[in-house]
């Protein structure tokens, strides 16, 4: 489903990696590992279609990445994509509309509850702690079962053990249902997956 061939990435004149191939089928978990600055985030952004690779190409369902890809892929980067001036609920609702996800008010509430955000649902995001902000971004995962490909950049950063568990459960359920997951993480984690792959990037 997701294929990349001969990918190369250059940042600021430095070649981070080259000749990287990968292929991902339903139910696969791909973990990208490597020291800081080895190009993990860059690889994820290339797979999301944000960064243009210095060489090589990424294909989804055999086609080059286009706008339809946006409906079938979920990307959560370092920044939480939560606007300070909108409430937690408004932020979630905007994301849901932007990605044309099928949901309802009840399920939105549930997603926030799952991440322990029900008390701050009506609070502008500027008053959230760093961890809460991450949770507000990740609450989307609870509504994204229908989205086949998840790309998560350091999803466990700044989360307490409770939230780590929530994310792991959601990811495992996603994989069990035939979804795909690419993630970078420094922490060890346990996500049950039908198939696992590992890419080690060198610094």
């Amino acid at each position: 489903m997701l294929e990349a061939t001969a990918l190369a990435c250059e940042r600021g004149g430095l070649r981070l990696f080259s000749d990287l191939d990968l292929a991902l089928e339903g139910g696969s978990l791909l973990r990208v590992r490597g020291p800081n600055g080895s190009g993990k985030t860059s690889l994820l952004r290339i797979l999301a279609g944000l960064t243009r690779p210095a060489a090589g190409s990424v294909r989804w369902r055999g086609r080059a990445l286009d706008e339809e890809y946006g409906r079938e892929m979920l990307f959560i980067g370092h920044a939480a994509a939560v606007s300070d001036d909108l409430t937690v609920l408004e932020n979630l609702e905007f994301t849901v509309d932007l990605f044309q996800m099928t949901t309802n008010q009840h399920r939105n509430r549930e997603a926030l509850e799952l991440f322990g955000l029900e008390r701050v649902a009506q609070v502008p995001a500027r008053y959230l702690s760093q961890g809460q902000r991450r949770r507000a971004a990740l609450a989307r995962l609870a509504l994204s079962r229908a989205v086949p490909l998840w790309l998560l950049d350091e999803p466990f950063a700044a989360l307490d053990s409770d939230a780590v568990e929530r994310v792991s459960e959601l990811a495992a359920a996603h994989l069990a249902a035939g979804g795909m997951l690419v993630l970078t993480s420094h922490q060890e984690f346990s996500i049950a997956a039908p198939a696992t792959q590992l890419i080690e990037l060198e610094g």
Partner: protein, 221 residues
């Protein structure tokens, strides 16, 4: 279309939460325009002759003042990234941003301008033309401004740089916008000026969004 409306609504809602930003731009516009009158002196004929130019220059500066935030806030909190990976075409995202910017700055500026025109002793027909020229011209400020704002994302000294890039591109709007009012004051048909202003609007709505899309892709690369 739904995506466009969604994004415009979001920007309007955000602006409503930060009302100060819009009000500040308008106040800046009025103050700059009034400063010229204070600096030049109270001679009505002289004020009348320079009114159109002053209002237009103040409008350019005010619009520019509001531009650095257009994409920078969304870039900082990661929203821009999500907008680009979303199923919405980038062109729709950019068009919505431009539309919201015009509704929040260009339109209010155009509506306030006749008041400043009164301070400058403009007669009724010139006041009307000032409004019309601003209504045609201010969308250009937002269209090209979006391109400029996207180009300077992540650059050093983005604010000053934005002025350096945009003001030369704004010159035709200034010349023909102010020219239309001056022509009307002098009793000649301002149609030709308005035509050229309209032509410039058409060209800007072609190249502005294109450049803004390309620049956003570069900025997030």
């Amino acid at each position: 279309m739904a995506g466009f409306a969604l994004l415009v609504r979001r920007d309007l809602r955000l602006a409503l939460r930060r009302r100060g930003d819009i009000v500040n731009v308008l106040v800046f516009f009025v103050i700059v325009a009034s400063l010229f009158a204070l600096g030049v002196g109270p001679e009505p004929n002289q004020l009348r002759a320079m009114a159109a130019g002053v209002v237009w220059v103040a409008a350019l500066l005010a619009a520019m003042l509001s531009l650095p935030r257009l994409f920078a806030a969304d870039l900082a909190d990661g929203t821009l990234e999500q907008l680009l990976v979303s199923p919405q075409p980038v062109l729709v995202v950019v068009a919505a941003k431009i539309a919201a910017h015009w509704l929040l700055t260009g339109l209010p500026l155009a509506l306030v301008a006749p008041l400043i025109g009164l301070q400058y002793h403009l007669p009724a027909n010139a006041l009307g033309l000032l409004l019309v020229s601003l209504l045609i011209g201010t969308p250009v400020l937002s269209l090209l401004g979006a391109a400029g704002a996207a180009l300077v994302l992540g650059a050093r000294g983005a604010g000053v740089l934005l002025g350096l890039l945009l003001l030369p591109l704004y010159v035709p709007v200034l010349v023909f916008g102010a020219g239309a009012v001056t022509a009307a004051l002098a009793g000649i048909d301002p149609g030709a000026h308005l035509s050229l202003l309209g032509a410039f609007l058409a060209v800007s709505s072609l190249v502005g969004p294109w450049a803004a899309c390309a620049a956003l892709r570069v900025a997030l690369d």
